[in-house]
Symmetry: D2
Subunit: 228 residues, 4 copies
């Protein structure tokens, strides 16, 4: 474990467990088209990466891998797992007792939603409603967990008792993904229209991945964060 | 909508919305290896399908598609969505208010778990605990829903209010999958070691798919339900 | 076999063998987000498809399938098979003797290449060179086939004898693909920068698929043929 | 480039360019089910890997990556590229002039094929036929290359001139793949029924990958080389 590569996100975290990735691998998997190889990044190599990104020649960005260990609420994980190009292994609430950890928003995060699908905007609510919401979420989740713990203690199978647990419960998983699929994830999940909560995780993922392939992620930014 | 192709599973359902599938397509996509084509199923074609299944030549089973519409609890959907070869679109609790529908087990379904990971067995519990469990699950889910409904009514964004909702809440989704990936799903999810709840859905899927490709599914049974 | 759905492309063809696809399936797999369903296409449904395409919400375009039967030269098939989201079964030159059919360009197709990678342009050559090229390609391919046929006749394994056959030899395959992956294929392979030969096959694919999902393909055109 | 990780296969090669892989990553991505982690491989960890392999719990084998650089004949590459779970970038005969390198069998490799599809066997041929075959393959390939070189020299576009080149021509590519997909490739391509030529490449891939995850590949052997 390399804890220097771990970022806290609320009560969860994103940890970069391992990577096989550098900008040069993008260059060399592209250059095999010409039976050529570069030994180091120079201005020409930077230009090639920017060209590939701009023209959306995506395959050379696939020859690398990032392995992340993530702890986040189930409702965040559910959006994450929709990304099919990559590998997941997750905590099992069939095999293990879920720990008593659930998502509670900060008062400043309590928001109201206006607008239509595809064009929602979110506004903060007044302090009183914010405080009440925080309290109700905490209290409701605690009560649900008590029921769960009680049922498990009485001998009810964990896989059945869990049905009362809220989607705010924390889960954890390993996720392995290549840079092209990662940029697709980041394009969608760092975007304004993504839910604030997964956006914070996606930003942490980006912060950890970016130094590993700096030229690639710069090019991605400069192309408006489009998936190559 | 073809409601004759809909099976109820508890308070949920599986509906076969459309299919492009027949046994002959398996034969002809295999026979293209020889630039040959069959116009109908005879004993020789049956034999070919059985050979392909037995030898795990899987690709000819991919040239078809089944589109299902499913309503099931979130904890079942979460297992379902782990199957990456296929397409999903799901109800959005960010865009829509979740209806007040949640999973409550039958008393006979309340079970205890014994054994080790990989070799669990489940036994029924006594009547009193069964009744209590049913009641606690119902009551806990109802209370959580009340909190959700209250928060939504007060103006809290649906995407935030939902965090208190239990994983027993019903969701719905479209799922499109080819027969090879479908058999992989069925191998794992109709198996004894699968959770009873997803097993019931998987059995419904099988009941709907089987008549569409009868020779294929017979061969699959006879090969011990292994993925081709 | 439905030969009305077959288009000749040079000495090859594209045949739409079957489809489970219509515009309404796009609408309804998107509408499941709201637990809603449309029974027919009206202006509102058209608008939804155009919105999905424009905003690149791609998943609702996946709940359908097209099964094509294609005959084309190996060098075209090699580009085709790079598209990983889809299913292929191909003629086997290990199992079957390859027929004596190979690609010969029309004189008007003989071209010269100028410019740099990523910005090539092609110009016709003079009549004499065009005629010579056609003749040399024909003659070289014929001679190679004679060697192949001779070796096979002498008893050399087909899988070994084939190594002399040119990439212009015709092969055939079944290809099953959903509309999202199909539009990705068409975006790349109907594009100016694609090789003329695969472009002609891609145009035939488009001509066969388009009437099956007319609103979808209109929206795709209007969005500059970008992959949703 | 790490040439110590390069194996020659005939006139081609397999080179392990990079890996993010070890047995411990399999253990830890499986153990996340229990929110547990192992810091090193002991007997218990070995047992877990063997259990996962035997029971075909395949996902924990996906959290790693191997990047290979391969040079092989086109007819071998064509079989290789059928494996869709992985990433490829290949030499482009549209952009670059193909070098004059083609496959010629050793006399001892010249074989005849007997039996039926699915149960072929191969026998050596007599010395005279073997020698003649080698000579005819060499000569036919040389002549085809001369036509190609002549057309390119005259100004015909490389993408067109290449149609005369035999499938025995050497190409090269980068291939990145996880251990689960790699074992699927190896199951099929090191098998007796695979063509001898790709079998030799698959054996080289195995020889390079095996020391990186020795427990995993031992377990795979002991389970009859089945895909987990």
């Amino acid at each position: 474990m390399n804890d220097s590569k771990r970022l806290e996100v609320g009560a969860g975290f994103v940890r970069l467990d391992a990577a096989m990735a550098d900008d040069l691998s993008v260059v060399n998997s592209a250059r095999v088209s010409f039976a050529q190889e570069s030994l180091e990044m120079s201005q020409k190599e930077v230009g090639l990466i920017r060209f590939l990104m701009r023209e959306r020649h995506g395959t050379p960005f696939e020859h690398n891998a990032f392995r992340f260990h993530v702890k986040c609420p189930i409702f965040v994980a559910r959006e994450w797992f929709r990304h099919r190009i990559g590998s997941f292994n997750e905590f099992s609430a069939r095999y293990s007792e879920m720990p008593n950890e659930f998502y509670v928003p900060e008062p400043a995060d309590v928001r109201t939603q206006t607008g239509k699908p595809g064009a929602y905007t979110f506004e903060p609510v007044n302090e009183k409603l914010a405080a009440e919401t925080v309290e109700m979420i905490r209290s409701s989740s605690e009560k649900a967990y008590e029921v769960y713990a009680h049922l498990v203690e009485r001998g009810v199978a964990k896989e059945l008792a869990r049905v009362v647990l809220p989607v705010g419960m924390f889960t954890q998983f390993y996720w392995t993904v290549n840079a092209r699929s990662l940029m697709n994830f980041l394009s969608l999940r760092t975007h304004d229209t993504a839910q604030k909560d997964i956006r914070e995780y996606a930003n942490a993922v980006l912060e950890l991945a970016r130094p590993v392939m700096p030229i690639t992620f710069d090019a991605w930014e400069d192309c408006g964060r489009q998936t190559p």
